[in-house]
Amino acid sequence: MLKRVLIANRGEIALRVLRACRELGIETVAVYSQADAEALHVQLATQSVCIGPAKASESYLNQTALLTAALATGCDGIHPGYGFLSENADFADACAAAGLTFIGPSGDTIRKAGSKSAARDLMRAAGVPVTPGSDGPVSSVEEALAAAESVGYPVLLKASAGGGGRGIRRCDNAQILPAAYAEAKAEAKACFGDDEMYLEKLVLAPRHIEFQVLADRHGNVIHLGDRDCSVQRRNQKLIEEAPARCLTPALREEMGQAAVRAARAVNYEGAGTVEFLLDADGEHFYFMEMNTRIQVEHGVTEMITGVDLVRQQLRIASGLALDVTQADIHLEGHSIECRINAEDPTKNFQPCPGQVSFLHFPGGAGVRVDSCLYNGCTLSPYYDSMAAKLLVHAPTRLEAIRKMRRCLEEFTLEGFPTNAELSYQILYHPIFVRGGCTTAFLDEHLPELLDFSRRVEEHEEGV
């Protein structure tokens, strides 16, 4: 087994990894920036080392500092968590070169799965359905027009090196394609220094369904069911659920096998997520991308399968075979996660971190809270604004919704505004309750949701 793991991350995922290590008897080395000196996981780790100033590029993204700290403290493994360097192929290679086990796939696999167009070709070859589009890049307007013709409008013009919604233009007809093509190409050049473009059919009002996979070094690959992350705003997920209510058992089986084939296609190792777009007809699904890391919302899969995914990452990285087979995986009941962010939805979700003057987390049967907050701590402004994750599990989706409502009522955080109230309103919205949310839900209903919570506040003040 791994003996001592450096946790190259911060916040709740650092604490999550530390806990899994502790339960496996693996020692932990926490690294922190000067802004995180008082962080909870820094206090709980076997040893902790300050590696840089607050700025992420000089601390959590500083590969030399991370590798130096790991080697100097006698670590044999590095866990990258999510975000930061978790999907940085060069860092994965640098760890291997320094004789450290990068807890995740190899740099090569990350590159294969990471580049959008390379991944599409691999998936097509592995029999994983991909959104119809141009085979490889479209290097001129004429090529783009031809590809759009064969695929059928509306289409998306996308940068191969794209990500986070940059270098993408929607195109509903041939007339506007030339201008859209030029714009997207320029933006791609500016953002990624690489203006290679490709073209994809635009799936309208799709569902965002992702599958959790686990793969070890002995050829075992399994999937652990699906998650529905449709409640999101500008690609930022807000509420995630497992399993996705809109999948029939047959479709779940078919998509699950496709996810396993996708993982094999890039000889995946560790815990990963295969993201699909499910067409509004609820039958056609298309590979979208693969995330080569543990995800923020991994907890909902853990709650319905009973499998500790971070523990599995540590076992796999230690060379052990999976101790669960596909037959062992059963999706029991329903799980929901609400991400609590330090942001003010009434001020266009402006992040507003600060000090926690009072904190109370909900508890009780079927409730889990993943957070690095403690009474009196300060949420620093240098990193992302996620303060906590509330998760619930119950035999049915309706009971899970009602349990989450209770948890949000009980949840108390004084010191800075959060989106807890907004999530609370969503849990009472008929479309959400009916399970009808698509990725467009939040943007379309935000005014209505915010208006409702404002009226509730006025009512409470009036009482």
């Binding site: 989706r397 008929p430 009916r434 399970g435």
Partner: protein, 76 residues
């Protein structure tokens, strides 16, 4: 699904008394179900009966009897 099972689901989801749940009882007037509560009741019935109730049909489920007839006509 037998009547007792449907009755228990209604009691649990709407928070009403078992005695009130008779075939002729109206969900809104007698059992106090507002629009959201009836959406939740439909969800609970779907999960228990393993069927999907089309949104169009939901509007026609006014009484307990309507629910019984619908479930009898739409086996899992």
């Amino acid at each position: 699904m037998e009547f007792e099972k449907v009755r228990d689901i209604i009691v649990e989801t709407l928070g009403c008394d078992a005695e009130q749940v008779t075939p002729t009882a109206s969900l809104a007037d007698d059992l106090g179900a507002d629009s959201l509560a009836s959406v939740e009741l439909v969800m609970a019935l779907e999960e228990a009966a393993g069927v999907t109730i089309d949104d169009a049909d939901v509007a026609n489920l006014k009484t307990v009897g309507d629910i019984m007839d619908y479930l009898a006509a739409h086996k899992a």
